[in-house]
């Protein structure tokens, strides 16, 4: 009954007033940025990272994690009410959710999304609690060679699941890895690519990079054209579901939750993929597939459950292996490192309060989210009337202050401008920003494991293929790459991601 003891410890940690408060603040902020198109959880977490430095590690992570899964709830509200996904994984929800809203059934659609999300979030959290310990145990056997191969697998798999050109995604990863090498070399202390600037000795600041790439570049994209939001926000009424509705969503919620839980651990956009896959599964098993796209409640229940389950299980690789599978997990990894904790398999033993407290807080956070999103739905709908011309200066203001406050160093603010421009140019030329951030965060780890493995093996590169676990991971990476470039899979990916646009 070790699991129960662990969960007990977790709830004890999560139920302290300060942690409850910050779990609440996190999910409320998350809902807000999920609702608002034009600002997402990635930029928000990047902006808020600096101000959590002074917090206890567990409090800081509880809040930042809350922003992430809170945004999954908020995103569906915008998708349903104004047919604009506030968050990318809510794109599928918009298909049927908005049709339901048009037919005057916005209330049941929102209720389905919230209840499905809550159920899925609970199951996802439980899965995280169940798998965290065994995976950490297994990973303790990993040496540098295994870790090197694991990081390679993570990076390659993230391409396989991304949209767009494989070559470009690969190039973005390599560019990210290179940007990650800026700063003093770990072994020799030689400053690399610093051009004599002392500020660069400790490397490029990753808050600046994330804010520039996901905040400023996104603002510039949005300012290209008119953002006109036709907010035809009618009063949302009749939030409760009928007996018939309940009967119809039972299956989709269960299947969506299962798919989401499993797909969430995959690197790349696991939660986006989960919502797409569960939608097409429902369409296939439904007796009335013609209703999909015309306001089928199953089309809201399945993807919403899937993306929330995935949002929780995304934490499995982060907490057990120290491997982030998405940009947001990369930011949370940064939060761990800033707090002086090196994420990896030993974290669960060294910092049990942190890991179990975080897991327990997710269940509490999901509970808050149901309260926030059902009775208080009107509040969030009002937020949709905040015009973009107020929103983007706020993003710039908060980003500047937050980044400056890390070290009271203006250099980090200049770096936002640099990465904003770089990010805008790269996105404009058809590159996804996410692989770059993953590469940047994983780059130093990749180099360290590579060099350490080779030092241990006396420079024999065969160490990566003679150790069985390392070999298996590399074979999986090769398979993931092959799958990504196979023509038939490429076509399918294009279809899936085209629906997103």
């Amino acid at each position: 009954m070790e699991l129960l003891n662990n969960l007990g410890l977790g709830f004890e940690t999560a139920f302290t007033p300060i942690n409850l408060l910050f779990a609440f603040i996190g999910v409320a902020l998350g809902t807000a940025v999920g609702v608002l198109p034009g600002i997402g959880p990635t930029a928000t977490i990047a902006m808020l990272l600096p101000i959590t430095f002074g917090f206890e590690p567990v409090t800081s992570l509880i809040m930042l994690a809350g922003i992430y899964y809170g945004a999954q709830y908020g995103g569906s509200t915008t998708a349903i009410l104004i047919n604009l996904p506030g968050e990318s994984s809510a794109a599928v929800t918009a298909l049927d959710g908005h049709q339901m809203a048009k037919q005057g059934r916005a209330g049941p659609a929102l209720a389905t999304a919230a209840l499905g999300s809550f159920f899925a979030g609970t199951v996802g959290t439980l899965a995280l609690a169940l798998f965290a310990e065994p995976i950490s145990r297994a990973a303790l056997l990993f040496g540098p060679a295994e870790y090197f191969s694991l990081v390679v697998l993570g990076l390659i798999a993230s391409i396989a699941l991304a949209s767009g050109s494989v070559l470009k995604a690969l190039a973005m990863i390599v560019l990210g890895l290179l940007l990650g090498t800026v700063g003093q070399d770990l072994y020799s202390g030689t400053p690399r690519f610093t051009f004599g600037m002392r500020e660069l000795y400790s490397g490029l600041n990753f808050v600046s990079l994330a804010v520039g790439l996901f905040g400023v570049a996104e603002i510039l994209r949005n300012l290209e054209g008119d953002i006109t939001r036709s907010v035809m926000v009618q009063k949302v009424k009749n939030l409760w579901l009928t007996k018939d509705d309940f009967r119809r969503i039972r299956g989709p919620v269960l299947r969506g939750t299962g798919l989401g839980t499993a797909l969430g651990v995959l690197p790349g956009a696991g939660h986006v993929l989960a919502s797409f896959v569960s939608y097409s599964v429902e369409k296939r098993v439904s007796k009335r597939p013609e209703e999909f796209g015309r306001g089928a409640i199953e089309g809201v229940a399945a993807p919403e459950s899937a993306n929330n389950a995935a949002a929780q299980t995304q934490f499995v690789p982060l907490l057990t292996l120290g491997l982030p599978v998405s940009p947001i997990m990369a930011l949370l990894l940064g939060a761990f490192i800033i707090q002086g904790i090196v994420p990896g398999p030993s974290v669960i033993d060294d910092e049990p309060e942190l890991v179990w407290g975080l897991i327990a807080s997710m269940w509490i956070g999901n509970f808050f989210l149901v309260l926030l999103n059902l009775p208080l739905i009107g509040l969030w709908v009002k937020m949709l009337t905040i015009p973009y011309r107020v929103l983007f200066p706020a993003i710039i203001a908060f980003a500047s202050i937050g980044t400056y406050s890390i070290a009271l160093n203006a250099f980090h603010v200049y770096a936002i401008a640099f990465f904003g421009i770089l990010g805008y140019v790269l996105i404009k030329l058809g590159n996804e920003p996410a692989p770059l951030l993953l590469g940047f965060v994983l780059g130093p780890l990749l180099e360290e494991y590579l060099r350490r493995a080779l030092i241990i093996s006396d420079g024999d590169p065969s160490v990566f293929v003679t150790r069985p676990i390392s070999l298996t991971l590399l074979i999986l990476a090769a398979a993931a790459f092959a799958i990504a470039v196979l023509p038939s899979v490429r076509r399918k990916r294009e279809v899936v991601f085209e629906e997103e646009d």
Partner: protein, 152 residues
């Protein structure tokens, strides 16, 4: 196949080639070492070369396929204003203090909006500065002086 259509991939390839070359050339000035004892230059030299290669492949592929669509409009005014705002904030936040520095930076940013006008932008700047003080200085207790030594 038109040159115009392929421009996006050609440019993307060019950007990667430039970055790859810059990193590769600079890292060759560090001690490169061997696979057994990798010097600080080894890893970035290899990656820089890979990036050059990928850049060339992307450009060639774009040239052959040739239909990657238009670049679309670029918000030049917004880009200049937002960069100016960030640089101004970084340059003056210590000397002028948080209040005047943020006020000007947010004002510049707000002007970047489409059809932005001066007075509404000033109102946005004033309200967001007040909100930032409330959040960062009063609630979160960050040590950022309101006014700096340049004004004293």
């Amino acid at each position: 196949m038109s040159m115009h259509g392929a421009r996006k991939d050609l440019l993307a390839g060019a950007v990667f080639v430039i970055f790859g070359l810059a990193f590769a050339i600079t890292s060759s000035t560090y001690e490169v070492g061997s696979a057994l004892r990798m010097g600080p230059g080894y890893f970035p030299l290899v990656l820089g070369s890979v990036l050059v290669l990928l850049g060339i492949l992307i450009a060639v592929k774009g040239f052959v396929a040739g239909d990657t669509g238009e670049l679309g409009p670029v918000p030049w005014k917004a880009t200049v204003l937002i960069v100016a705002a960030l640089l101004f904030f970084g340059f003056t936040v210590r000397g002028l203090g948080m209040v005047p520095s943020l006020l000007v930076a947010v004002f510049l940013t707000a002007l970047a909006g489409r059809n932005a006008r001066v007075i509404p932008s000033a109102v946005i700047a004033a309200s967001l500065t007040a909100l930032s003080i409330l959040i960062f200085v009063i609630v979160l207790q960050l040590r950022l002086p309101y006014f700096g030594p340049w004004l004293g």
